[in-house]
């Protein structure tokens, strides 16, 4: 038996309830008290449209002024107004024009308010010109990709890249992002402000990198999106709305990048990986809310359409003849799905994929999952030897899946005492109650 099914942080973060509609983000909406399904749907639709337009307008304005914060300021009230207005009155035919009208009014107000401050005044003038240009030109160029490349620039602190993308492209507020990334809103707010200051002051250009540079830079964009997705999955019970939503936001971004860079196989690979994980979301808990490991999941409960879409993406990506981390991770998901559906063991193929992944991105997390696959192929003893090679990595001491994997392998070799100890540590490290229960049951079963 292998614990978990994957290789990444999403593994230990199996999530429960299916939540299709995003909960309200704005205060105003909560007050409106959407009781009927229709109004919830209207709100979700309005939010989706507003968010898409918001990101486009922020990107467009920031690309002209290089001042992300000013662009956000100009649009934030417009966005908030849209979230209260649209669910009631319906989405406008031209959402961008609507947002723009409100944003321009706001910018003119700001301009008046700060007339004496010449620097601010100059920036606002450029901003107003930008808004004017959008108004005159209905088809505004989509520069969200460039904005994402700015947010994921190597000169930006690595840990703030994903939050920054979520805020600038999707308009999520700092409070919501902070709770999703388990940080205090004040600390998150400060880091986001600092990052935006850096973008403005350091002269980071708003452009999609040239061909030769694109590959390396695209990795950081994809990593940021994946970090957002993984962070969302660390709330396995789906009880924290902010973090549960994050998986959907990440999926939206992954779709956007795949759509804007359709010839980049890794962009397709990431979307496929996310779709695969998302397809199994509902099957990861049973009706009683207990954790269900992959090997015991009912494939009928998986979302077949999402899996099909993921498979098609991987097919397209493989035709481009440039393998990468996300394509390999996607292919692993695909192999797991195939094995569970057909009942045909495919561990040799899985180990091969992990070998390739380890060679490419040799993280200890990959090593653990590779060891678990090796156990299926060559036995638990061989797997423990392989795992010993990464045991020195200090990060693993606090990594629950490492101890759970060790426990499983030790139990198989008959080292029950050591297995019990490893389970004890894994249980102590687990945040999620159903997974903890699952581990406790396995630990108790050792006595038999």
């Amino acid at each position: 038996m292998s614990f978990g099914d994957g290789h990444s942080r999403s593994d230990k973060a199996e999530t429960g309830d299916e939540q299709l509609l995003t909960p309200p983000t704005g205060e105003g909406q909560t007050r409106q008290g959407a009781s009927s399904a229709a109004s919830i749907a209207a709100r979700a639709a309005a939010e989706a449209v507003a968010r898409r337009s918001y990101g486009k307008l922020v990107a467009f304005l920031a690309a002209r002024t290089r001042d992300v914060a000013a662009a956000e300021d100009a649009l934030s009230e417009a966005f908030a107004a849209a979230l209260t207005d649209w669910p009631v009155k319906g989405c406008p035919a031209n959402p961008e024009a609507w947002l723009l009208t409100v944003a321009r009014r706001k910018t003119i107000d700001m301009h008046r308010g700060r007339r004496r401050d010449e620097i601010a005044s100059e920036e606002l003038r450029i901003l107003a010109l930008g808004l004017e240009a959008v108004a005159l030109n209905p088809g505004i160029p989509d520069q969200r990709l460039a904005l994402m490349f700015v947010c994921a620039h190597p000169a930006i602190e690595a840990s703030v890249r994903a939050p920054l993308i979520l805020q600038t492209v999707l308009g999520l507020d700092a409070k919501k992002i902070a709770s999703a990334f388990l940080m205090s809103p004040a600390a998150m707010g400060k880091r986001l402000v600092r990052a935006k200051d850096k973008i403005r002051q350091a002269g980071i250009s708003f452009s999609v990198p040239e061909r030769e540079e694109l590959a390396g830079r695209l990795d950081t964009v994809l990593d940021a999106i994946y970090a957002a997705f993984a962070e969302g999955w660390t709330d396995p019970g789906g009880t924290d709305a902010a973090r549960r939503d994050l998986t959907e936001e990440a999926m939206f971004l992954a779709r956007l990048v795949a759509q804007l860079l359709p010839k980049e196989p890794e962009a397709l690979g990431l979307l496929a990986l996310i779709l695969h994980a998302e397809a199994r979301r509902g099957a990861r808990r049973n009706d009683r809310g207990d954790y269900v490991p992959l090997a015991e999941q009912d494939p009928a409960r998986w979302d077949a359409a999402m899996i099909d879409e993921a498979e098609a993406l991987l097919q397209r990506a493989s035709g481009m003849n440039s393998i990468g981390r996300y394509q390999l991770e996607g292919a692993l998901q695909s192999a797991h799905v195939d094995r569970c559906r057909t009942g045909q063991a495919n561990w040799a193929e899985v180990v091969q994929l992990y070998d390739a992944l380890f060679a490419l991105a040799g993280s200890p997390v990959v090593a653990i999952n590779r060891a678990l696959a090796i156990a299926e192929l060559h036995g638990a003893g061989a797997a423990l030897v392989v795992m010993q090679e990464v045991a020195a990595d200090k990060r693993l001491a606090e990594y629950q899946p490492y101890w759970a994997a060790r426990a499983v392998l030790l139990a198989k070799t008959g080292a029950l005492g050591e297995a019990r100890e490893a389970y004890e540590i894994a249980i102590g490290l687990e945040r999620d109650a159903p997974v903890r229960r699952f581990l406790q049951e396995r630990q108790a079963a050792l006595k038999g």
Binding site: I119, E122, H153, P154, A155, Q201, A202, G203, I204, S205, P209
Partner: protein
């Protein structure tokens, strides 16, 4: 936009090099400076004396308080700088990466405050 490339390195490092290595190092810096000049982006550059020659000054109770030595005691100190003009940051980073100082130390890229706006 102007950027100041600040070259940090271990102060004692230079004296530990052989004569050949020092000659090679000087040649590398000369070539780099020339490349910046040819590209038309060099605004200024200097090599600094070691921090043993540094004096620190600040006012205490209205009187200059003078101390021997650098502001921060550290193994790595600024040994020189290049002031370059270009856009955007990525271009400055590329030039910083070509600087010999990035090989034997660390180059900090600092945008210069634009007083014009």
């Amino acid at each position: 936009m102007q950027y100041l490339l600040m070259l940090y390195s271990e102060e004692g490092g230079w004296n530990q090099l052989t004569k050949d290595q020092q000659d090679q190092g000087m040649a590398a810096y000369r070539a780099y400076t020339e490349a910046l000049q040819k590209a038309g982006v060099l605004k200024g550059s200097n090599r600094l004396q070691p921090t043993s020659a540094a004096t620190t000054v600040r006012l205490a109770n209205g009187k200059p308080h003078v101390l021997d030595g650098p502001y921060v005691e550290s193994k790595e100190q600024i040994g020189g700088y290049y002031l370059i003009e270009m856009w955007p940051l990525d271009a400055a980073i590329s030039w910083a990466a070509r600087c010999p100082g990035a090989g034997h130390g660390t180059v900090e890229v600092r945008p210069v405050w634009n007083m014009a706006t």
